[in-house]
Structures are given as C-alpha cells and as structure tokens.
C-alpha cells in the first residue's frame, strides 16, 4: 500500500467554483426576472440616464480581467514576480472599481434617484450593484489567496490551482457586471 499522498487533484474543487458561478448567475437571473416583470407591469423601467461612473467602472473591471489574464499567463511561464505584480494591479483595479461604484451611487443620489423611493426599479439598481460588489469583495479575497499562495512558495500545482479559481471567479464577475450594466441600459 504505497502512499499516493500528494496527488493533488484540483478538478473537483475547480468544479465547485464553476457550480458556485452557476448558482450566482441564477441569483442574478432571479433579480433580473424580478426587474423584467416589474418593468413590464409599469410599462417603463428606471428611466434614468445611468451615471457615467458606471461606464468608467466597467472599463476598469474589464482592465482588471485583462491584468488577471496576463498574470495567469505569467504564472504558466513560471514568472512569479510578474504574476505577483499583475495580481497587485488587479487588486488595485478592483478597489478602484469599488470606489467608482460608490461614486456612481453618490451621483445617483444627487440627482434624486435614491435607494428609498417609490420607483422600485431605481432601488433595484442599488440592490444589484450592491450584490455585485459583494461578489467583488469575495473575488478580491480569492485573488489575495492566489497572491498568498504565490508568496508562500507552495507547490506549483497549488499556486496554479489558486490562480485558476481566482481567474474563473473574477472573469465571471466581470462578465456579470457587463451583463448587469447592459441590462440596465437596455431596460430603461
């Protein structure tokens, strides 16, 4: 009975992340279907011109996806220092994204489109962007986890595994945000 000790198999765990992505999408599916029925029942949606900050934050989050992609590429070439630097950039971009979301909320509040009001479609913008921001926080956690793995010089397989789950999740929330933004744009 020989030790098969560390045949580290990341596949089932990566699959777990995918399943989480699925269930998360379903949750946002639930939100958007609420919105669809609500808007149809009113004959109109939120009726706002979305704040510009949302455009910038979308650009930022796309950029962060790109840096993360490059980081993964660097890791594949075993260039750890480049990977770390790119991950740090990603984290900074993520934080910038969060700041911009707050900014966007601020400018919405200034135009009078507040969270509490009798247009649930406007409240909805706050709720979905807020729930998305929670995902961003979780995503940053995963990136930091990948960073930590890289610094701790774990076995390469594990560093790569951490990197992979961070990537899966981060690209997902990137796409998710684009989806939400386009959805809100289209369903004015």
């Amino acid at each position: 009975m020989e030790k098969i000790q560390d045949t580290f198999d990341p596949k089932p765990r990566k699959f777990i992340v995918w399943l989480f992505v699925v269930s998360s999408s379903i949750m946002f599916g639930g939100f958007t279907s609420y919105y669809l029925v609500f808007a149809a029942s009113k004959g109109k949606g939120h009726g706002l011109v979305l704040p510009d900050a949302f455009i910038y934050s979308s650009l930022v989050i796309i950029a962060s996806s790109i840096t993360l992609f490059l980081a993964a590429k660097a890791l594949r070439k075993l260039n750890f220092s480049l990977q770390r630097n790119l991950l740090w950039v990603t984290v900074i971009l993520a934080i910038a994204f969060g700041v911009m979301q707050f900014n966007a909320w601020g400018s919405m509040v200034r135009t009078g489109a507040t969270l509490v009001g009798n247009n649930a479609a406007i409240s909805f913008i706050y709720v979905v962007s807020g729930m998305h921001l929670l995902h961003i926080i979780a995503g940053v956690g995963l990136i930091i986890n990948a960073l930590a793995g890289s610094y701790k010089s774990l076995p390469v397989a594990k560093v790569q595994y951490r990197m992979q789950i961070a990537s899966i999740f981060w690209h997902f929330i990137d796409i998710l945000w684009i989806y939400l933004y386009v959805f809100l744009l289209l369903n004015r």
């Binding site: 279907s33 669809l36 029925v37 808007a39 149809a40 029942s41």
Partner: protein, 117 residues
C-alpha cells in the same frame, strides 16, 4: 440494464474534429448572408411596404435565433461537445425563452390590473 447508454463516456474523441478552415468560412458566409437579408428587410422591404413592421419583427427574431444557433454551434464549439452538455444548454436556452415569455405576459397582466396613479 438494457438500453445501453454510453453517451456519458464516449464521443470524447471527436471533440476536436471538424471546424476546418473551410468550415469556418462556410459558417461565416452563412452568417453574413443572414445579416445581409436582415439589412435588406430593414432598409428595403419594410420602408417600401413589402412587409409590415409587425411581421418584420418576427422574421428578425427567427433570423437572429438562426444566427445564434450557428455561432453557438460552430464558433463556440457546441456542435462538437458531449451530448449531455448539448442537451443541458439547449434545455436551459429553451427555459430562458419560456421564462421571459411568461414574465412578460405576467407583467402585462399586472400592468392592467395594478392601480397606477
């Protein structure tokens, strides 16, 4: 255990078959053709009154679905994926359409029955 169901295990090998250069161009041509037809409808048929806007909308939807099918099937490789995945994606796609139709009908109903001020 009669119906021998190997669907889950086999078909792995033709995963990467197909999608030669020629095929790509062919699919691209089809997509282009559909787009051209759409443009013709939008720019010629409807303004000239050969087709009403109403029917036009339906034709659009059908053509777009067709396009989506080609894109998903060939460019996104679904045509070469396992049967299970194909089924799952098709079923979810049908479901999503079904749900959207349901939601819009329900929204329309609420629109009439809610007291709007």
């Amino acid at each position: 255990m009669s119906e021998h169901t190997h669907t889950t295990e086999e078909h792995g090998h033709d995963d990467h078959a197909g999608l030669s250069k020629g095929k790509i161009w062919k699919v691209f041509g089809i997509l282009l053709l559909i787009t051209v037809i759409e443009f013709i409808i939008a720019l010629v048929l409807i303004p000239k009154g050969y087709m009403t806007q109403h029917i036009g909308n339906y034709v659009y939807i059908v053509l777009t679905l067709l396009k989506a099918f080609y894109i998903v099937a060939y460019f996104m490789h679904l045509k070469y994926e396992k049967l299970g995945l194909q089924l799952a994606l098709t079923v979810s796609f049908i479901f999503i359409i079904y749900f959207i139709v349901l939601m819009l009908t329900e929204g329309g109903f609420l629109n009439i029955h809610m007291m709007n001020h």
